[in-house]
Symmetry: C2
Subunit: 531 residues, 2 copies
């Protein structure tokens, strides 16, 4: 069991200095429970800014991790992992290799199911490691935090927030099975709000609406099944019966990496704050090696190509197809790729182990962006008004691609059946056909025209929750209703009963009256006859 | 037919100077179609600020009006009214007198119906005057406006915006029959979203939920009936078949004077922006006469009493009851009242024809606020953390009062059965019982803790609509669906048909199989028997 405290005395002076400089003497105490991987990259911007503002921040992370690196401006508490970093890396490597293998549908589903199971099992194990680390939990109990900032794709943060009785802020883009919408009680009419992974737009055909309706109807059940292991874990840890959705529903503020130039407009709740494009705020001067190469490029400019922070290798045949596609375009290409150099690599194509994506896209000579359509990359494409060629790999990337394509700001190709000519044609199309540039510029100008930048907005709401110990005034009373009450089914049932009863009594009365009349008539007739 | 242009050459230089000072060289062209009365008071703050920012603003108002006074920093175009100002004043006088008359329920309903009919008839006539003023309409056509800012309680602005093909921004608090929610396609579950005029909170009993459900179900129809005369007017004017709801639904941005410390949290749409408390931004130093009187008050401070901008008189018996209630409280009282002085007025009670309400409430010696619970006053009470005694008169004021009372920040009394002792007890209760002050301070601190002040936010969104010719990216695709599609009733019907057909076929098959089996069995039995 390892608990490491990386904060040092020098940090105190830096924080004190920052306090003086920024004039923020009302430092709060914030516990951060992040999610490893690309999610951390944008959350980090917020945590860094909060630390700069003088808040006392404690980051709780597993020992075996990918991207929690170079953190020195706040306290990091690591808990030992019951699996090694190798296990994690092997899982990711296997997964990223499999992404490029073209299989038949049944095999693909089997692989996706297995890798999802494997991944969620690893995350569940990480959560168990955290909760069972009693030394760390005791330390956190003593800290007297004002609030928690957590990534709510998985509910580990929510469980700890409940244990510590502190309000929480969720930082995320969206979840599988619409958990965020279910937990925040956001109405999501399936007639125009496409569900995740459907690859539908908000303008659906009848058949698509039928599918969307069915998926929407099942989400609640699937959500419960998916998070069931966490419900058990939470119930054991908190020593009371809880389920993951009820824990998520206590979230004070949902910071969603959403913006409606990219997402389809839909109803929202007052405690959902939109900070889409927060990652674009991170802007630095370009490193010299990139600056030099860009200066060498002519009026054709350059293309940025990356499959994101988690996928930097691919099978040689695909790498060669891509290299073939790129070698004949007149642009210089910066390709983030850590694999073996394809033998057919063109002179215009520069392989780099890492690239400052947002800063490169911000350069006036950036002409196109070849991306796997991860949400971070898409927002950077939008912020910098660079049209995109999208090669989605997994998860929500296909949905992201369809959103950009439906706005006429990019083209989508499948990486599995990639023909070099198709890729080069797509890149040339988004560069040379002015409609793509015009559309992405329109989206960009709408996206950037905001009353407050998304990072400042996120900082405000985390500080708000720290200051006021939550945001109870934004919590809808719907949370106190059960499912039947919320949907007014009891009211509907009551009114239907009243209506049927009234109709029944009226009918009975009519029949009685009719019978009486008939009897009287027949009696009278009989009387008349007898007379 | 009169069209007056009050802009003068001196205004040009002032605007030019303001442009230089504020550095806003991107002045847009904005047409403003406001609503007379207290609504204008908060809208004016926004229009003034937009004019200060160098936008070319044209205000279109009727000649016979109440509160469109002292406007000299933008162009005002008045159109002649087919009724005199006396008619308007008589209507308002009669209405404000009737507010204080205690009648039996049937008479009250009759009066309310008649005065509402009268009022809406006057507003409809105003709209007709505007649309039939072809000189003014031609002038507006030539202006080339970028957008319209309008108060959408009535759809005159929406009709003109449609005629001029310009996007519109609605500035309002809320409408009768939930028009804003219907037009913006905001889901409003009746299980926890109380309808206007019901005086319910968001925590309703079963009976209240039944009523709320019934009212909610009728809103759509009532809305159509209420706005029917405008639909006819608009269809004639626009020379195409339209209805008021479809015109309202084209609103680009809804600027709602809402804040969830006061309103109950409910779903919202992305193009609805909350600017509740915008009127609190208007802060000036207190006039000397008030300053002097306040300085004379001891540690007990003072009480502010106003029935708003539209009601400043009342019958003598009620005025005397109020004077009686106030004369024995230890606070000084500032009472906006233009009627005959009640003979029993206490020395501590100062009658004033007008009072700087927000500035008085902001004074540290302000102890309580006696108000008719109009939304402007309520927000000023919240902004300045002054507990309230509410005497609601009409419209949404009873709803407002219940919202504040349910938060423990004030007490509600009926002005019709007012016993002086009750009023003085209520005033002393909100002053001396610390819970009222604590609750209003809590609401105030939540309300004021925003990332951007509501006036700046409103300015941003009006400018946004001017810059981008609307906000199409915030318009949900639901507007393109009909009622059946929106509620997925066609999908539901289809799935039900499939289910019933499948069940029917399965049942038929089962019966067939059973029959075959039975026949075979009986044949076999017969065979066996015969053998």
């Amino acid at each position: 069991m390892v608990v490491t405290d990386s904060s040092s005395s020098c940090c105190f002076f830096r924080r004190f200095f920052l306090l003086l400089v920024l004039g923020c003497a009302d430092g709060g105490r914030l516990l951060v429970v992040p999610q490893d991987g690309s999610h951390w990259l944008s959350m980090r911007l917020l945590v860094d800014r909060l630390a700069q503002k003088g808040h006392h921040i404690v980051l709780a992370i597993p020992e075996a991790n990918f991207l929690f690196k170079d953190i020195d401006n706040y306290t990091v508490k690591t808990y030992s992992s019951s699996y090694s970093k190798d296990v994690l890396e092997n899982h990711m490597r296997r997964m990223s290799q499999e992404l490029f293998v073209d299989r038949i549908l049944t095999q693909k589903i089997k692989f996706l199911y297995e890798s999802a199971l494997n991944g969620t099992q690893l995350i569940l194990t990480t959560c168990k490691d955290f909760l069972q680390n009693s030394t760390l939990i005791r330390e956190l109990e003593k800290e007297g935090f004002d609030a928690m900032l957590t990534d709510s794709v998985f509910p580990c943060g929510a469980i700890v927030a409940e244990h510590l009785s502190i309000p929480s802020v969720s930082f995320m883009r969206g979840t599988i099975f619409g958990m965020d919408q279910i937990a925040s009680l956001t109405p999501s009419p399936p007639s125009y709000v496409p569900r995740m992974f459907t690859v539908y737009t908000d303008n659906m055909s009848f058949g698509q609406r039928v599918n969307n309706f069915l998926i929407h109807s099942l989400e609640h059940i699937v959500c419960h099944i998916f998070y069931y292991p966490y419900a058990q874990l939470a119930s054991d840890f908190l020593k009371k019966e809880v389920n993951a959705l009820s824990l998520f529903s206590r979230t004070s503020i949902w910071l969603m990496r959403y913006d409606f130039v990219f997402e389809f407009p839909r109803p929202v709740m007052p405690n959902v704050i939109f900070i889409g494009g927060i990652n674009c705020v991170n802007r630095k001067p370009l490193p010299q090696e990139f600056e030099k190469l860009i200066n060498r490029s002519d009026e054709h400019g350059f293309v940025v190509f990356s499959f994101g922070s988690m996928v930097s290798e691919m099978p040689m045949n695909i790498a060669m197809d891509i290299a073939e596609a790129l070698r004949y375009i007149p642009q210089q290409v910066f390709w983030r790729y850590t694999g073996k150099t394809p033998p057919n690599l063109g002179d215009n194509t520069h392989l780099v182990k890492w690239l400052p994506q947002n800063d490169l896209l911000a350069h006036p000579k950036a002409r196109a962006f070849i991306t796997h359509a991860g949400s971070h990359g898409i927002y950077e494409g939008i912020c910098n008004a660079v049209p995109m060629v999208m090669l989605p790999l997994l998860g929500d990337q296909m949905d992201n691609a369809i959103r950009i394509e439906s706005r006429g700001a990019g083209l989508t190709l499948s990486v599995l059946n990639l023909i070099p000519e198709d890729l080069s044609n797509a890149v040339m199309a988004v560069i040379e056909n002015p409609s793509y540039k015009e559309n992405i510029q329109r989206l960009s100008s709408l996206h950037l025209d905001r009353p407050i930048n998304p990072l400042d907005l996120a900082v405000h709401w985390v500080e708000f929750v720290m200051r006021h110990k939550g945001a109870p005034h934004l919590r809808p009373a719907a949370h106190d209703l059960n499912w039947i009450q919320y949907h007014s089914l009891d009211v509907f049932g009551f009114l239907l009963t009243v209506l049927i009863t009234t109709l029944f009594i009226s009918l009975k009365c009519c029949i009685c009256v009719c019978r009486c009349c008939c009897k009287r008539n027949s009696k009278q007739k009989r009387k008349t006859k007898s007379e």
